[in-house]
């Protein structure tokens, strides 16, 4: 096995007693003898401990007191009463708004997905091209992720003018960071054997990438892109900054004018849309699943006439059909973006004039404090979100819990929780607890739970069921199966996704501003609203530093546990 792939050995990390240590052999220690207990790597123990440490500090710092929530239940009740019954207004108008948003989100997500395939391939550890290309790709992925779509929006509105094009591009740029990162993680997690086999028969890099890496990444990549579409629909309030309107703006206006019944109606429309997307994601995942599972087809292709040509079977037809349908929808959504080519002439001047305002970046004590606040809150919220999310994910995964109604109910519930915007949770907790970090922490914990349970469910779905079936055959009980058959396979994505949840929570921490808990999101909004772009630049640099730090820890952990 080549040096670049030495730590990726599926069998080795999964089964105790195999001659392999979890430490990845970095310090060159002799491997433990066969039959000895597996070594626990620094990452699997250290990262949870680090989270625990920050959480303990966070609990003290936020002044978490559960009793206060109980005291505020009456206020929560009074607020909820003002949200029912939901009113939708004229349904066709609501539907138009929803579709408008969906097209823009679809165009933006699609563009991001296409760009991400190339960026992720180049950023992956397995990329064998020039180092500089890999670093560039990694840099683009980190910067686009760290920079909130708000910033892309104010930039693109200067370049392309008010309208859906600027909105779609703002969505696309910010989405590249997440899709690219997660896709390159998926590429890295793959077993290298097929890749090496295809390389051995003389395929070039492009052929090899398409036939081994991309096809195997398809299930995870498809659900990832659909999930990002889901996020982009929910985050569509940013379209208000480019004059593109849509359902997110309508929701923001309804909440801002305390018209909660209308807000509830709009949220229901969003939840229905998200449920449809979740269903599509579920069906797609089953259709392209890598592993044989109940009622799924493990063979991607039927045997063709000749050995070298894959034939058609039902699942290949469905895959191709679904792919074509997705492509048509994407092309149609691109057609909905009105491109005004006359504007492009003055675009450059406008953009540079705006960007010139960003230099020199200004760092103030407030910015550093805001970043500190956001990081503490994001980590503490992640800690609780990950714990709850893990339970939900385990209960809603078909491999692990055979009671299907529970799994479906939980998945539906998570979608519902996710469909309600952070600001609504923030308002509910503000009513109960008053302004301050505690209310913000609770709102952030709910969004972290939704994020984590989604990520965990998706990666548990992709767990190889073979060890589970084998353990079942030996008479192991459910806990034993989970500990020995599932957990070892799941650890890399558990750690990676937990860190990534913090990464996303850091940017969602704008919700803290709603409850007066400060944080970097509040400062960012304030600096943009008051046109203090030099401070905006300082905040962005701070965010990038934190995201790079998180990413470095994640990469280190992945080297240890994959």
């Amino acid at each position: 096995m080549s040096a670049s792939t030495d730590s990726i050995d599926e069998a080795g990390r999964a089964v105790p007693g195999v001659e392999r240590q979890f430490d990845g052999g970095r310090n060159g220690e002799p491997k433990p003898a066969a039959g000895g207990p597996p070594r626990v790597s620094a990452a699997t123990l250290g990262i949870p401990l680090a989270y625990l440490a920050v959480t303990v500090f966070g609990i003290w710092w936020i002044d978490i007191r559960p009793a206060a929530v109980a005291a505020g239940l009456g206020d929560i009740g009074r607020l909820l009463q003002r949200m029912v019954p939901p009113t939708t207004g004229p349904v066709p108008a609501l539907l138009t708004l929803t579709l408008e948003t969906l097209w823009i989100a679809l165009a933006g997500t699609g563009l991001a997905a296409i760009a991400s395939v190339f960026l992720a391939a180049a950023a992956s550890r397995h990329f064998t091209g020039p180092r500089a290309v890999r670093w560039l790709a990694q840099g683009i992925i980190i910067v686009t992720r760290a920079v909130p779509s708000l910033i892309f929006a104010i930039l693109f509105v200067r370049i392309f003018g008010l309208g859906p094009l600027a909105g779609a591009l703002a969505i696309a740029f910010h989405s590249v960071g997440m899709i690219g990162k997660m896709m390159s993680d998926v590429f890295e997690e793959q077993v290298p054997a097929p890749h090496e086999a295809i390389a051995a028969v003389g395929a070039n890099r492009m052929q090899n990438f398409v036939s081994t890496t991309l096809t195997r990444a398809l299930p995870a990549a498809a659900s990832l892109v659909i999930y990002r579409l889901d996020i982009n629909v929910r985050a569509s309030a940013v379209l208000g900054l480019v004059g593109a309107g849509g359902i997110g703006v309508a929701l923001q206006t309804a909440i801002g004018s305390l018209n909660y019944r209308r807000a509830a109606g709009i949220i229901l429309a969003i939840v229905v849309l998200l449920l449809i997307l979740e269903l599509i994601a579920y069906l797609v995942q089953r259709a392209v699943a890598e592993h044989a599972d109940e009622h799924t087809e493990s063979r991607l292709f039927a045997p063709g006439k000749e050995a070298s040509t894959p034939g058609w079977n039902r699942s290949r037809l469905m895959r191709t059909g679904a792919g074509a349908a997705a492509a048509c929808l994407f092309l149609f959504s691109l057609g909905q973006l009105s491109v005004n080519s006359a504007r492009l002439g003055q675009a450059w001047g406008n953009a540079t004039a705006l960007l010139a305002g960003f230099v020199p970046p200004v760092f103030t004590q407030d910015i550093l404090l805001g970043i500190f606040e956001s990081v503490i809150m994001a980590f503490t919220a992640t800690f609780f979100g990950v714990l709850i999310g893990l339970v939900i994910a385990v209960l809603s995964t078909r491999h692990l819990v055979t009671f299907a109604p529970l799994a479906f109910t939980l998945r539906g519930l998570v979608v519902f929780v996710r469909g309600i915007p952070d600001i609504v949770y923030a308002l509910i907790f503000v009513a109960a607890l008053g302004l301050g970090p505690f209310a913000g922490f609770l709102a952030l914990t709910i969004s972290c739970t939704a994020l984590a349970s989604k990520f965990f469910t998706d990666s548990l779905q992709n767990v190889d069921p073979a060890p589970i079936r084998a353990l079942e055959a030996t008479g192991a009980n459910r806990v034993q199966i989970f500990v020995s058959g599932v957990w070892p396979q799941f650890v890399p994505s558990f750690i990676g996704n937990s860190l990534f949840t913090s990464d996303l929570a850091l940017r969602e921490s704008a919700v803290l501003g709603i409850v007066g808990a400060g944080g970097v999101g509040f400062l960012l909004d304030e600096s943009v609203a008051t046109l203090h772009y030099q401070q905006t630049a300082g905040i962005l640099i701070g965010l990038i530093v934190v995201v790079v730090a998180l990413e470095s820890v994640a990469r280190w952990a992945r080297r240890k546990v994959i």
Binding site: A50, L162, T253, S257, G434, L435
Partner: protein, 335 residues
């Protein structure tokens, strides 16, 4: 365990230790939550002052520190200041009687009075002249535009800020209705999301007219070099829209409400500085404050850089109700 793990364990232990001693910087007095029973008789042990950014506010929290200092001095109660990005956040906290004093835009007050027991007691004043806190909405066009009067706006693309902004939409909509134009169907409204974008995109040709808060045209955008002299012509100016109200919760005991009000009204930016309410953060008096204050040092007195606050009552905000009655705007309707 290897060394790294031990280091992490040490870190965990250290943070445990740290937490064990000392109170959290965010610790809140326990009485904050018992306000909600509405018993206005028992006096609170502390106050919460919430502020929301308005169009032209900056360094929100710091700029209110002298005012909070005045309130603390007068009432003897510790007062915490919360800068909040959303008006709904503050209003819901008020509805639950968990914010005692707040300042926000006049339209937010219009929304709040429907759901929370609050009363305006003061409003900001930019110069020593009474009523100088009022703001206007301006309709602006690019220099040389063929649009000369408000009537010419018919059938054109019009940039607004957002549907819930009084200076960026509601006042202008009322103005259009006043001359017989329907702001929904007789023009093509575009909501740009913010005042500065509405103006820059109007200049870039995305729309023919922009309606924004006057201060962006007269002060903020020229100061930032975003609009240059003579680039923008003002087509229309709205009637005065009341400035930033300061509202107090009715659940506080009467004498406490009086104390808070008088604390705020007692000083202006200059006398506050003289009284030592902002020892570390002083600036020179604004030229617009006149001869009397020229060259003196002043406090930052609220988010809008006000000269002082003047007494206000609910009647001072009738303008907003009139605008809402005229426009029948969606955002004005309450459940």
């Amino acid at each position: 365990m290897n060394q790294k793990t031990k280091a992490f364990a040490a870190l965990a232990a250290a943070s445990l230790l740290l937490s064990a001693c000392g109170t959290s910087p965010n610790a809140r007095p326990a009485d904050n939550s018992n306000n909600s029973d509405g018993a206005s008789g028992d006096a609170p042990q502390s106050l919460v002052f919430a502020v929301v950014p308005t169009d032209d506010s900056k360094e929100l929290e710091n700029s209110f520190k002298p005012i909070v200092a005045a309130i603390e001095k007068e009432t003897g109660l510790p007062t915490s200041i919360e800068a909040v990005s959303s008006n709904a956040g503050v209003i819901e906290a008020q509805a639950a009687k968990r914010v005692d004093v707040a300042t926000y835009g006049a339209f937010s007050y219009y929304l709040a009075q429907n759901v929370a027991d609050v009363t305006p007691v003061a409003m900001d004043q930019r110069t020593p002249a009474a009523g100088s806190g009022a703001v206007q909405s301006l309709g602006v066009v690019a220099a040389g535009s063929d649009i000369k009067t408000l009537e010419d706006v018919k059938g054109r693309n019009v940039c607004f800020t957002d549907p819930a902004s009084s200076t960026g939409y509601l006042a202008a909509a009322a103005g259009l209705i006043g001359i017989g134009l329907d702001p929904k169907s007789d023009i093509n409204p575009i909501f740009a999301g913010s005042h500065d974008v509405a103006v820059t995109q109007m200049l870039a040709g995305d729309c023919d007219v922009a309606f924004v808060a006057g201060t962006f045209i007269t002060d903020i955008l020229p100061a930032r070099g975003i609009i240059k002299d003579g680039e923008v012509e003002t087509l229309w100016t709205s009637p005065d829209i009341p400035g930033t109200p300061m509202v107090i919760g009715d659940w506080l005991p009467e004498d406490l409400r009086t104390k808070i009000t008088s604390a705020v009204l007692k000083y202006n930016a200059v006398t506050a500085a003289e009284a030592g309410l902002c020892p570390d953060d002083q600036r020179e008096a604004q030229p617009s404050w006149g001869e009397e204050y020229a060259g003196k040092m002043a406090c930052e007195w609220g988010g809008t850089g006000a000269f002082a606050f003047e007494p206000a009552t609910d009647d001072d905000f009738a303008t907003i109700r009139e605008i809402c009655d005229t426009t029948q705007a969606e955002v004005c309707r309450n459940e």
